[in-house]
């Protein structure tokens, strides 16, 4: 009987392990340093996670569809630079800058979606290449210069990054709203079901009449929409941006998505779990700072987290921590 209970516990951990780990981590850290769960600190973490989180929402669709997107960091830099530059351009101004930036960012997303979905090129290669290509594009656009809004008091553009509504920071609201909409899209609509089917077994999806290429294409459209949103928040918050503002974020985003339990093989994961993954990553990085470690340590830690998350994913599927055969 005890064994049966253990079994049940094991299955619960396998399914909800990420939540349990999150709770344990929060409790442990709070006991060690009460400042950790200080309400201001908690809100600070959520707010600083919003940009990463918005990007992770889109990448969740790509990963569940069985592909990768390593171009999101680079694409976010592009969208931030573009929206700032157009904002300063008298022909555009804030009203036109934002839709124009979304259109351009999503056009790049469409190109990736075309290459991966319709031409069926390997997504790792395509998006790794796009990471570099988009960076080049950004530098060409900006001439290598940082972008700044000259007269910051004269524009309402800062509202997306700095504003609050009902006492909640706008970035957090946008993250929450987008998460809710995308969670419903993924869990409740035919499109969401098709994403799972294509990622779970693309051939079987094709044999069921599902247009695999189109589904993959739209996962990248969603991803680029999220990236554009993140770029908008970023640009608005700082009212200026470097060409490399999103550099390295692709790995953090991927870490959050995998940490949330989406399998790199595709076909599994949820928006809610990704949100948890984002928060865990944010709180870990925050915890490290509170512990007095250098900011740079987080790059190492992020990588360690990715490895651990991938290992746990594989280990729970195999039912043991180590195995000679997959």
């Amino acid at each position: 009987m005890a064994e049966k209970n253990l079994d049940a516990v094991g299955r619960f951990l396998a399914r909800q392990g990420i939540l349990v780990a999150f709770v344990l981590f929060m409790v442990g850290f709070s006991l060690w340093n009460p400042r950790f769960i200080d309400i201001d600190n908690v809100f600070g973490v959520i707010r600083s996670s919003a940009i990463l989180g918005v990007m992770a929402l889109g990448v969740t669709f790509v990963v569940i569809g069985g592909n990768l997107d390593l171009s999101v960091g680079s694409l976010m830099s592009f969208s931030a630079i573009v929206v700032l530059d157009l904002h300063e351009n008298p022909a555009f101004g804030p009203y036109l800058a934002i839709p124009a930036m979304f259109a351009m960012t999503m056009a790049i997303g469409a190109l990736i979606g075309f290459l991966v979905g319709y031409l069926r090129l390997n997504s790792l290669i395509v998006t790794l290449g796009m990471l570099s290509a988009i960076h080049g594009l950004t530098l060409t656009w900006s001439g290598g210069q940082n972008m700044d809004i000259a007269n910051q008091d004269a524009t309402w553009f800062g509202v997306f990054g700095r504003g609050t509504a009902l006492g909640i920071p706008i970035p957090v609201l946008m993250f929450g709203l987008l998460a809710a909409v995308l969670a419903i899209l993924l869990a409740k609509t035919p499109f969401g079901r098709k994403v799972y089917a294509v990622g779970g077994n693309g051939t079987a999806a094709t044999f069921s009449g599902i247009p695999r290429a189109r589904v993959v294409f739209f996962t990248y459209i969603i991803s680029s929409f999220c990236v554009a949103t993140a770029g908008l928040i970023q640009a608005s918050r700082t009212m200026g941006a470097q060409n490399t503002v999103g550099q390295g974020m692709e790995l953090e985003v991927l870490a959050a998505v995998i940490l949330g339990g989406a399998s790199l093989l595709g076909g599994s994961g949820t928006v809610f779990k990704t949100v948890i993954g984002v928060l865990i990553l944010g709180f870990i990085q925050n915890g490290l700072l509170l512990a007095g470690l250098e900011f740079y340590v987080q790059f190492v830690v992020t990588w360690v987290i990715i490895i651990l998350a991938v290992w746990l994913d594989i280990a729970t599927k195999r039912g043991k921590l180590w195995s000679a055969i997959a």
């Binding site: 079994d7 419903i184 409740k188 035919p190 077994n201 051939t203 069921s208 009449g209």
Partner: protein, 503 residues
């Protein structure tokens, strides 16, 4: 027989998984020099038993006894070291390496400085290959061998140790008749050397040809062991499924309806050429031929997965073009594909979602998928097809082969097709489910479906078809009615020997 010391004994093996008692006190004795068949429907516990034996699972109760010594198996390598060798259905060879390298993979002979002793390797390998009497040598690249010969390499691998017991898991699944003969010779040879052979297969004719004793599992329980000479197919089947099986020819003749689909002069590159046939409502047309005869390719063309290079397809007398599976589905064509796991199912998805996948876009309430409509469809076809699953939330990958196939069939029946194509509907499925699926196909025809059955199994084609199309090398050789057809003239037609013009 009784004086011999068993090479391997299993005693009261119990293995439970959450919610399932997969093995319930199974005992088995393998004597030296015997071929011992292990039979049972899919899901009866055969593969779980083998995994326990190979140390992949640890039993909850019971003992494994090798040479009268109780042992604990920690994994396949330890099993091999103890002389228990597995020949798996799915090959696990490195195709870019040579035969010799594959056979001694992980234990290549070494000389000074840890370099591979190639001369020694080749000599050892050729010695083993000679025993197997095969037409290739140590240096042949494995990728260039036929599937049968690759299987021989797997067997050769088993012979590198002093095997006490060799377990064959469905070894003939992908072999031709000639290749089977060679395999059986090898088995006889092992037998004469006093090796105990456990032989897992669904194929009755093989079981009765080569085995000495038969043990049967049903629902994880040991049903007993019989001497092969003292039983027959019916007896074994009854042990396996607890009832009798109907294997008679199809003799039902209900009224046929209009022509549902007609194909004229259809060609697709060099896959098949100038193919013409028609299928009426209420009719089952069987497509029989060797692997590579072009049958599956025709099915895939009708389902929009391949574009024909010539010819026309007519549905209800009207010419149609089918460019994608979505087109085919819209025209009422359904395909139950030959590779259930690769093409038919998303194994990680639950039963309901798999079943409703082709129509999920239509099962909506507002913009959302309607849970209720989906569950209703699942319940309906679960009852209709007698799908055994704890509930619709069950992951399809956890079902037995027969139940998985029923999910695929249910998925396509729920589309209410005009034309139902089933490709190898019972491949890898146990006898019990097999006959259920055969009955189902007949029943569907009686309800007015036009059914095309592609199969490589003659009894199946004979059993279910009203007419049989025999194919050879991409061409239709002859079309038989169920009255004209005999095993002989059918075999001749699909081998390209003689055979009249299309009737």
């Amino acid at each position: 027989m009784t004086e011999k010391t068993p090479v391997l004994r299993l005693e009261g093996i119990v293995k439970t998984f959450p919610g399932v008692r997969a093995l319930d006190g199974v005992s088995l004795t393998l004597l030296p020099g015997e071929v011992h068949a292990l039979m049972g429907e899919n899901g009866a516990g055969k593969s779980t038993l083998m995994k326990v034996l190979g140390g992949i699972y640890q039993p909850d109760e019971g003992q494994i006894i090798v040479d009268e010594q109780p042992v604990v198996m920690s994994g396949p390598l330890e099993a091999k070291a103890k002389g228990i060798v597995f020949i798996h259905q799915e090959l696990s060879l490195a195709t870019e390496l040579s035969v010799a390298e594959n056979i001694y993979l992980g234990e290549l002979p070494r000389k000074r400085f840890g370099l591979v002793d190639w001369a020694q390797l080749e000599a050892n390998t050729n010695k083993i290959l000679k025993k197997l009497n095969v037409g290739f040598n140590a240096k042949t690249r494995v990728g260039s061998l036929s599937i049968a010969n690759q299987q021989m390499v797997e067997i050769a691998r088993a012979l590198t140790v002093d095997a006490k017991a060799v377990i064959f898991d469905e070894p003939t699944a992908s072999l031709t008749d000639a290749e089977k003969v060679v395999l059986f010779e090898v088995i006889a040879d092992l037998q004469s050397q006093g090796v105990g052979i456990a032989y897992i297969s669904h194929r009755m004719e093989e079981i009765f040809k080569i085995t000495d004793r038969i043990s049967v599992l049903r629902d994880g329980q040991y049903q007993g062991t019989v001497n092969t000479a003292e039983t027959d197919e019916e007896g074994v089947t009854q042990m396996m499924i607890g009832r009798k099986l109907d294997l008679s020819r199809n003799e039902s003749h209900h009224e046929l309806g209009e022509v549902a689909i007609e194909v004229r002069g259809l060609s697709c590159g060099n896959l098949y050429e100038d193919v013409s046939f028609e299928v009426r409502r209420g009719e089952v047309v069987g497509f029989y031929g060797l692997v590579g005869a072009g049958r599956t390719e025709i099915a895939e063309t009708l389902f929009g997965l391949r574009n024909p290079s010539a010819g026309t397809i007519l549905m209800d007398g009207e010419e149609v073009t089918i460019q994608s599976p979505a087109d085919a589905i819209a025209r009422g064509i359904s395909l139950v594909p030959e590779d259930r796991k690769g093409q038919g199912l998303v194994l990680g998805m639950n039963c309901r979602d798999n079943m409703t996948l082709p129509q999920v876009g239509d099962l909506t309430a507002g913009p959302f998928v309607s849970d209720g409509a989906e569950v209703a469809i699942f319940d309906q076809y679960r009852d209709k097809l007698d799908i055994r699953t704890p509930g619709w939330r069950q992951t399809v990958g956890n079902l037995s082969g027969g139940n998985q196939q029923k999910i695929v069939i249910g998925k396509w029946l729920s589309m209410h097709p005009n034309v139902l194509i089933v490709d190898e509907p019972t491949r890898g499925i146990d006898v019990g489910s097999k006959s259920e699926i055969h009955n189902l196909i007949r029943e569907l025809a009686a309800q007015g479906y036009a059914v095309i059955v592609v199969s490589s199994e003659m009894p199946e084609v004979l059993h279910v078809s009203d007419r049989i199309v025999a194919m050879y090398m991409g061409r239709i050789i002859r079309t038989f009615t169920s009255e004209e057809v005999t095993e002989d003239n059918l075999i001749q037609a699909i081998s390209g020997i003689g055979g009249g013009k299309a009737a």
